[in-house]
Each structure stands twice: as C-alpha cells, then as structure tokens.
C-alpha cells in the first residue's frame, strides 16, 4: 500500500498525459462528466467522483459506430486500434462491468478485437466510493463499493492525501517510476480508509434493505418464466432503450456495412433487445413481438441466462438504468416484486 499527497497525485496525472489520452471526471455545470484532460493544462482539475458517474466507461472499450473492418483496394482488413487511454474515477461497479463483458468479448472462442485491444492498452485508475447515489444497489448483488480487482491503480482519500493500491504490473511500473511521490502508507491512514469503507457499505445496505430478496435473484426471476407479472412491471416502459444504452454490461451490437470513398467499411452499432425486430427470424416471424416478452427477456438474460452461461450475473447494481428510465421503472423494485408477488396460480397453461 502506497500513499501520495494531493500535489503528488496531480503531478503524477499530468505526467500520464505523455503516454495516454487521460479521461477524468470533471465538473461541467451541475454535472460530473468524463472529459479528456488537456495535456497542456497547468493544473489539471479532476473532480474525484464520490460514486459512479451518470455515464459508464463502456464507450472507451466498446464504441458505437466504430469501424471494425474495411475493404479497400488492398483487400479486407481489420481496423487500427485506438490510442491508449488512462481512465480515472472508475468505481467498483464499473470494474465489475468490464469483467462481465470480458467473458463474452475476450474469454471466448471468438474475440471482439477492439475490446481486447482496449483492455490491453487502457490504464485504469479506480477509486473507492465515498458516497452513493440513490439508485446504487451493488450491495444487493453482494458486492462492495470499493475496488477489489480489475484495476491498475486504485486510490482512496485518507489523511489529507491518497492511499494507492497497485493492482497490476502496469500499475506497479508507474508507481516504481516515481519513488519520491509514492511512499509507504502509514497504518493509521489504512485504518481510516477501512473504517470509511465499512461505514459506506452499511449505509448502502440500509438504503437497499427493503429490496433484499430471500431467494437468490436468479431464482426470483426464473420462477416467473410463465407468470403474468411482466405486463405489470413493463406497464410504463416506452421502449426508449435508454436502459440498454446506459448499462455498462449491455453489449449487443449490430454490424452495419457502408460504402466509403475507398471501398467499404463495417461499423459495429450498439443494439437493443427492446427493439421489436431484434429477434426476428428468416421468413419474417418475430418471437418476441410483445413488449412484455422483450422486457422479460432483458431480466432473464441478465439474471438467469448470463449467470448460467458465464457464472456471473450481468448486472452490477450501478443503478444507471433506474436513473435513465423515463417510465420510472426501478430495477430493484422489479426484482423485489418478482419474488414477493410471485403466485404459483398465475402460472399460465403450458404453451406449446
């Protein structure tokens, strides 16, 4: 465990801009947004976020509209990788989301090349949550609001400066390059951080206590395969797809080919399972024509199919979908109702 004072961290971040495009949370009006830090800025201002930002880090790894291949006079070829980026303000749920999508895009028979390249080249500087949004519910998924794995460096405020955890060889190299900035952390600073962690975790648990289900979420959802509750849950859904777009774990895409001056290019576009044509079949049929079926599929995929396929739930409890939904649909509330309003008598007759 290392310790760096405020000025030291700012100096370190400025140095990073030599090797990386640095993206950090910054105050813009009332909002905290991710912005590129201008390398020429004398004193780069970082608005260290208390909790996860409104936007996720997904676009830094999986960008909609990205060219994935080209076909020119030289024949078909893959796309050039993007410049390495250093990402700041990444929270535990953001790290978890990247690890979830890794299962599909990287640790798989086929790889998503841009994702894999960005996972290699980007530097992740994570941070402890020091507060929470009303919609945060990571603790309902048995996670904690501080980084446990998947970062290069992780910082937590303590004792007027920053505690720094090293999580990878890449992170280690950066710290080793600045022996005078990063000192051994004093024990009392670590204790203070751990106390703050425990306190925040308890607060999150209290905030979400009323949504805690008795059964695991996978069971709460899966026992509703044939119930009618979905129509009630989806009653105010307007199919805007916002929940898919803001979600750091949603990763469906559609390849779209276009003509270019020198041939053609293939773009990867974010897709949404809320589109009625999403599951269409050759011959024109669409198995999930009703919104309630698509709504149900969204929950089944995240809480049942994905864990069965990949051993992890495809939701981090970041709550972004709750904030984004104009129908005021709260995922926690839906999950709770799936368990508590489940009625065996609602089971529909066998559908052939």
């Amino acid at each position: 465990m290392k310790y760096v004072d405020r000025g030291g961290l700012a100096f370190f971040l400025k140095g990073l801009a030599q090797d990386y495009d640095v993206y950090a949370p910054r105050q813009v009006g009332d909002e905290l947004v991710l912005e590129r830090v201008d390398p020429d800025e004398a004193q780069p201002e970082v608005a260290w976020n208390e909790h996860r930002l409104a936007e996720s880090y997904k676009p830094f790894f999986f960008q909609t509209g990205k060219v994935v291949s080209r076909w020119t006079a030289e024949g078909p070829q893959g796309a050039a990788p993007t410049r390495p980026r250093a990402l700041l303000g990444v929270k535990a749920c953001d790290l978890k989301a990247l690890q979830i999508v890794d299962k599909v895009f990287r640790d798989h028979t086929f790889q998503e090349p841009a994702w894999c390249a960005a996972r290699e080249s980007n530097l992740i500087i994570a941070g402890d949550c020091t507060g929470s949004a009303d919609s945060c519910f990571c603790t309902l998924l048995d996670d904690v609001p501080w980084p446990k794995s998947g970062y290069d460096l992780s910082v937590a405020p303590s004792d007027g400066g920053w505690l720094v955890d090293v999580g990878s060889q890449k992170g280690e190299a950066h710290v080793a390059a600045h022996p005078t900035l990063f000192r051994e952390a004093p024990a009392h600073a670590v204790q203070a951080r751990d106390a703050a962690r425990a306190e925040l975790k308890a607060r999150l648990e209290a905030l979400n206590a009323r949504y805690r289900t008795r059964d695991p979420l996978e069971l709460s959802v899966s026992k509703n395969l044939k119930t009618r509750i979905w129509a009630k849950l989806a009653a105010t859904c307007v199919q805007c797809n916002a929940c898919n777009l803001v979600c750091p774990t949603c990763h469906c895409f559609l390849l779209h080919d276009v003509k270019t001056p020198d041939g053609s290019a293939r773009l990867s576009m974010w897709d949404s399972c809320f589109h009625s044509g999403y599951a269409r079949m050759a011959g024109g049929g669409t198995p999930r024509l009703q919104l309630t079926e698509r709504f149900k599929n969204h929950y089944f995929h995240k809480f049942v199919s994905f864990p069965r396929n990949w051993g992890v739930t495809a939701c981090t409890g970041c709550g972004r979908c709750i904030d984004a939904c104009m129908g005021r649909i709260d995922k926690r509330d839906c999950l709770y109702r799936l368990e508590t309003e489940w009625l065996p008598s609602e089971v529909l007759g066998e559908i052939h």
Partner: protein, 271 residues
C-alpha cells in the same frame, strides 16, 4: 490476433437459377473454407451488408461453396442481381452444424420447406457419402407451387437412391402436377418409420417449424429426437453480439439447429 469481422474474399463463379425466387451462388473463396453440414457463413456484398446462410453444397468440397438464396430483402435482392465474376466476402463457418454423431446408426427424417431445403441438402450430401453409417433417409419437402421446388434436377437421383425416399408436395393444386398436394405436415400422416430409431431434422419458415414440431410430437417423437433450424436474425455469427439468444442458447454458436427438448420450455422460442 485474427479478426473475425474481416471476411475472406470469394469469387462468384456461377449462378444457377433454381426457382423464380431462389438462386444458387457458386463461390470460390480465396482459401478453402472447411465447414460441417449445417454450419453457416456470413455472406457479404461489400458496402451493402451481409446476411447469414447455410451452404447447400457438399461439405467435402471446402474450396467450392454453394449457397442457395431466397430473394427476400435488401441484401438478397442485390445478390440476385449479380453476374458471375463479382467478388463477395465470406466469414465463418459458424455454429455447430447438424448433430451427425447423434444421427449415426439412426434413420433420419428430413422435413424441408421452400428454401429450407438448402441447408438440408448439405446434410443429405453428408448422409449419402456414408450410407453405412446411417439408416434410412426420408425426405419430405414442401413448396408453394411446382416451380418453387428447389433442386429439381436432383430429385430424380434422390428418388432412385436405395434407402432414401423422397416425397415432394405443393400447397395448392397446379396444372400438370401429379404429385402430392397439401402442406408439408400432411406428408407426415402416413409416416412409415420406426420412431424408436429415428431422428427428425427440419428447416423452413418459422410457422412451418412450429406445425411440423407439433405434428411430430403427436406422432410420438420424443422432443430429444427433433432438431430445428432456428434462423434468427444474427449479426456477428460467433456468440458475442447477443442478438440470437433463446434462453441460455445462442443460436449462432449452439445452433443454428437446436434440439426441441432444449427450447420447449422457453415461451415463444418457436414464435
């Protein structure tokens, strides 16, 4: 790292008109594309788009691939306008292909509808190549009208084969047609097969698959013995774009032919 979004260029060598709406495209890829019967490829018309198709040719000829295509929309309409000599792109093969290990030692009932006979033809080539490994092969094939029957030049050869019986049908009576009339399910009424030792494999429009499945269940087929080509709108072909999921299955990597037993409890899996 190899990039699975990048196609292999393929020369369009020949085009065979099968029916007024179906053509077979003979492709010679820059390098052979070994595939198993039932595995599919993404065929690209550069700059316009790609669409998934299951080769209809003999899997033992990976250097020359035939794809039989119904004209139905953006990409397929444009493909039908092409002339030999065009350069197309191929990605794949993807998916598992037909469960040939399971079929070995069994009789096989092949039920096709329209262009759905195309993927099944690759299976037939495979079955014909190793007649000792499989039992009887019964083909039941339906199309809207006599001229919409695909691969007509091969029907005679199939009928003549030992241990193969082939019965086509058309939906409505037509002048000059002496064969069976009625939906393909009506060809299953007088099925003379030992269900204990039979697997059924079907490909066709979604409604046909549904009715064929119900019929087979009525006849006493176990759900484990029914395989269906689930041709959902897939994009990447390799289990990462998410579009073709049915429950825990990704049709592209776990299919496109799925065992009915694996999907029967998933609402609307069959539409």
């Amino acid at each position: 790292m190899s990039n699975a979004f990048v196609p292999v260029p393929a020369l369009l060598e020949d085009i065979v008109t099968e029916t007024p709406t179906i053509k077979t495209f003979v492709l010679r890829p820059e390098r052979p594309l070994p595939f198993k019967a039932g595995q599919f490829v993404q065929l690209e018309l550069p700059g316009l788009g790609e669409a998934p198709f299951t080769p209809s040719s003999d899997p033992r000829e990976p250097e020359r691939i035939e794809i039989t295509i119904l004209k139905t929309g953006l990409v397929t309409n444009a493909l039908h306008e092409l002339e030999p000599g065009a350069i197309l792109g191929l990605r794949g093969p993807f998916g598992k292909g037909y469960p040939v290990q399971k079929l070995a030692g069994h009789d096989v009932l092949v039920v096709g509808g329209g262009v759905g006979l195309a993927p099944l033809r690759a299976l037939l080539y495979h079955l014909y190549a190793e007649p000792d490994a499989y039992g009887r092969v019964s083909i039941r094939y339906g199309a809207r009208s006599p001229e919409e029957l695909c691969f007509q030049r091969q029907h005679e050869e199939w009928v003549a084969r030992e241990a193969v019986d082939f019965t086509p049908t058309i939906d409505r009576p037509a002048a000059g047609w002496k064969g069976h009339v009625g939906l393909v399910t009506t060809l299953l009424d007088d099925l003379d097969m030992d269900l204990e030792r039979t697997y059924a494999v079907s490909c066709g429009p979604e409604v046909m698959l549904k009715f064929v499945t119900w019929k087979l269940l009525d006849l006493g087929f176990a759900p484990e013995r029914i395989y269906l080509s689930m041709n959902r709108n897939m994009s990447c072909g390799m289990g990462i774009c998410g579009r073709c999921n049915i429950g825990t299955h990704y049709l592209c990597k776990d299919g496109p032919d799925l065992c009915y037993a694996d999907i029967k409890d998933i609402p609307y899996a069959l539409g």
